[in-house]
Amino acid sequence: MPDFLLQTVFNASYAASYMALIAVGLVLIFGVMGVINFAHGELYMAGAYAIVFFYVWSGLPFFVAVALGLVFVGCLGILMELTLFRPLRTNPLGGLIASIGFLLILQTLAVLGFGLRNQNVPPVSQGRITVGGAFLTYERLYVIIATVGLLTALYFFLRKSKFGWALRACAQDREAAALQGISINQTARYAMFIGAALAGVAGAMTAPLVAPSPYMGHSVIVTAFIIIIVGGIGSLEGAVVAAVLYAFVHTFVTTFYDGVIANIVGLLLMLAVLVVKPQGLFGVRERA
């Protein structure tokens, strides 16, 4: 039984890791741009397909492919900012609809380029860590390490660097930041690059474990929304904590009951948080 519990903890840690990457990117974009990026799940999908292209088809080393995927999806983010979110800056609901349009385009491109079926990505490593009867494969371990590394780097970037300060200033109050001489456009571009790239890395790192398909982004975006609500919409720390909380609850309920019940429990958790503390666990006041 303890082995079984430990195994579930391992599974939950893995799930928490890639969900945290996706949710943090979504929060960053929402914080700086004030727009809900509905296409975030498709950026994750694009990251996974970057692995199919660079690693499986082109035969590059896996981690080189991940880095290329990061840059590629980050650039997709910049493209979204330039073509969609910048013209629609005063119209967040319009930004939401435009991101749905972008989502449809990305999905179609994935279908056209790679076909409808799930892609097989050969395993990166056969190794595993065994603790008693429980084990954690290296592939999953890499995801956890990448998440911890990237989120730590992001934390220091936001706290220490000049761009980080600008980014946080924009998230707090865009007009006031602009008055201080911070370029909103440039900051938005950085936020979109980082936010999209995080989703891309999550997709790239998990590609060997999930067999990418064009519609894989759909379930991910729903989970990500739950997480950012539970954590508080503007809060990066909240997103990480909520990702861990959600992944553990979801994984344990899935293990002991079934997946659908786990989804219901996750949604009830979110509804409970919303009713009791509408601004989320770490939330600040609602943006106007």
């Binding site: 969609l84 609901l93 989502l103 179609t108 056209l112 509408p278």
Partner: protein
Amino acid sequence: MPEKTSIGGAGLIGILILAVVLIAVPHLVSFSQQELLVLLTINVLVVVSYRLQTLTGEWSLAHVVMMGAGAYGSALFAKSFGFPVPLAMIAGAITAGLIATLLSFPLFRMKGFYFLIGSFAAGEILRLIWKRFTDPFGGPKGIQRIPGFPEIDLGFIHIDFYDPANYYYLVLVVVLVSLWVLYRVEKSRIGLTFHAIHWQDKLSESVGVDAFRYRMLAFVIASFFAGLAGALYAHYLSTVNPNQFDVNTMVYVLIWTIVGGTSRWYGPILGVVALTIVDEVILRSIGVDQVRPLLYGLILILAILFLPNGLESLVIKARDALRGRGGANVPNGEAVARK
């Protein structure tokens, strides 16, 4: 938003032309387009009732699930309890209204984006319950072999509602009556209060308006008509399943409504009709089935970039130009978009 309510001579002619088109259209299109026409007419009711809900300024993502509640309710009343189908439809719509009443209590503690996501969660829970519990709801496969609308046989006249053209007329009548009711609600004191809550919720509360009750009322009325639309849908397709009411469908309803515009009652109708024609008729006839979502996405982006106040802003501008007053103003379109 008081508008001219009396109908002029030109308006009367317009209504006559519209009536002729609505009556003639099933005989001008192919069989598969007739089926599409039935669904389109039902969707008109879905988007117009959705707009009523958004009048108070809150955007729900549970609307399609409320439609599902009506569909499931009506199907179960007809199939398991043996209600006659017309009665089951109304019972289904009432069921959707009751569920909306219950959901109001947790949901209207939230506002804005939180309400949007909260309503999504509530709807999704309901949908997952249909999916999980096989006993009354049939699980992922849903409910099949739902009885159809009974045929009318008066000896000299015989109407079989399995024929999509006939079902279309039935749906048309139900939808037109519903639209009229929704229109009257909006123009009544209640509707004006909805607008007041949207634009000045603190002020309207300070003069004694119970914002919670009016938000709930808008949600319940909208859900009732969504439920009715769902019931029409269930007895036409004779099968309902949880996937028909998932977030993808909701996204389409949202798109139709926003691309059409929400400051006028006809905005969402323009949206759903225009986008359905573009998607199902024009894009399908080009014969590029695989690229269709891509083109649809592009159209969506272009529409939102170049027509941020919706298709209705074109109509408003055209009408203002005809009346010869320059400087067309869309009073609250931009503010809606800012929400």
